[in-house]
Symmetry: C2
Subunit: 304 residues, 2 copies
């Protein structure tokens, strides 16, 4: 079975606590690792979670607050020490490319792999695409320009209905076309509809990362119908004023985003350092959107 | 009793391991904190070791390898969040001031304290001085320009011999002069030698931090007669070639530095990631210099 797995490396907010690391996650998509945000200490969490740095080729940075990017220089230096080859692409805004580019030029002079910056703009844009997956930016609303990231599987091939293809003697060389939805034409000219020869493809899973942001309608269309939504819930409802003034979300606002987006599952994270546990946050979010779970360092979720 | 205490926050080398953090230490001198080096994760170790960020006003960076400085942006950002006031002085070379200056300008725009860079040059120079302590650079030899740091207490006042000052009726207003070594003149003109009125002052403790370096005679004069020497011992003796090619030291070379400097005590650190424990390193160093201990995260040593 193809793998599409989320790994939570850090789900705290700016102020460090002994309980949480700053923001970072890794998507393991068919054993290729995609990192979202890279707070300080991320490389240690990679080690602790058994994630192989050599399989990491793309890092996506949501915005330039330290708790989302200060782990980059250490992570990249360690990848260089470990002799990673090929290319590492860092998807980041223009200012970030300049600042971290200067750091890498100085500290990673003997880097055995190429470091490429893909400059991302604010908005809903495709920033990465391969045969199986597309990554888009999500236009969030925070104190500084911030985007989330939508990971969406590309449409998959339909499943062959073996009994029927045997019956109609579909030749092997036609199978890929049939999997892609083509009808089959018999020698006598009769057309066999694809729907008789195949069963539905597996659904295309969508995962959205929305942190940091206050709730607005602007980003809802991009995350419509996601299977899994990671949404920040920095504060409980009693701290709504704090959330507003800092351009963050409360638990109820995170849950509201899940409802508006018609998400199937919600993961809340980016917890303020003021909470000694997150039970209250979970209760408040579940009261609005029952399919909610808490992020936690070390959590792995298999989307498929 | 005045405090002069060493706190080890990290004593690993460049490659991260689950056992060690990259280099950082804090000197607690009479409740003022002086940090030496600041690898990634240093701010977390400050928190774990109960060291108050508001009492940290000076950071000394030995050289620009990531495992000695990548914790700076996160540490300074957190100090800003916590509302530290006054001035933070970062003693660092010119390149470091430029690189980290750019980072602070971007990420710490609303910093409530002033960040000052004190540009340090290679050599044996006084870089900090107050009424009680002097800090000098130590000219080490590494792949990039590197200095160690010598922390030396200034001469202290002599202890009054109360019996004698009572006997000679030394007035209170003369006491500070007597403590500073002056003789006392009686009304009849007779001179009472200071040595009869006072006892020796407490000794002035010296601590030297030498990491990273290969062993050379160049830095020995600066660290002569130190009470405590922290010296890197990245490798065991069997890896002497590795040590030489990377401009690091072996255990025996660290011990040899302690002997040449006539140090009283040696702490070895900056352990290569290859060791699953440091027993071999300790044995090798002790075979040459018995007063050796291993650094370890969380270790506190009271020099007085």
């Amino acid at each position: 079975m193809a793998k599409f797995q989320l790994n939570i490396l850090g789900c705290g907010s700016a102020k460090p606590t002994p309980r949480h690391n700053p923001s970072s996650q890794v998507i393991n998509f068919r054993d290729n690792l995609f990192m979202i945000d890279c707070g300080e200490g991320t490389q240690s969490m990679m080690l602790r979670m058994g994630l192989n740095l050599n399989r990491l080729n793309h890092i996506f940075i949501s915005h330039l607050h330290g708790d989302h990017c200060f782990g980059l220089p250490g992570l990249v230096s360690t990848m260089a020490l470990q002799g990673k080859g090929g290319t590492l692409t860092i998807h980041i805004n223009k200012d970030g490319a300049k600042l971290f580019g200067d750091m890498f030029n100085y500290f990673c002079r003997e880097c055995p792999f190429e470091i490429k910056f893909n400059i991302i703009e604010y908005g809903d844009n495709i920033i990465y695409e391969d045969n199986s997956i597309v990554v888009r930016t999500i236009p969030l609303k925070h104190r500084v320009p911030t985007v989330g990231f939508l990971f969406e599987e590309k449409p998959k091939m339909r499943h062959i209905n073996r009994e029927m293809t045997d019956y109609f003697k579909v030749p092997v060389y036609k199978m890929d076309a049939i999997r892609n939805g083509e009808d089959f034409v018999l020698e006598n000219g009769e057309i066999i509809a694809n729907s008789r020869l195949t069963k539905d493809a597996d659904p295309c899973i969508k995962y959205a990362y929305c942190s940091d942001t206050m709730l607005t309608d602007k980003y809802i269309p991009t995350i419509k119908d996601v299977d899994w939504l990671y949404h920040e819930a920095t504060y409980d409802n009693a701290n709504e004023k704090n959330a507003r003034s800092r351009y963050h979300s409360t638990t109820t606002q995170a849950a509201e985003a899940a409802i508006r987006a018609n998400a199937k599952n919600l993961i809340i994270g980016h917890f303020s350092s003021r909470y000694h546990n997150e039970e209250l946050l979970l209760q408040e979010a579940r009261a609005v959107f029952p399919n909610t779970i808490l992020a936690n360092e070390g959590l792995k979720i298999d989307f498929i």
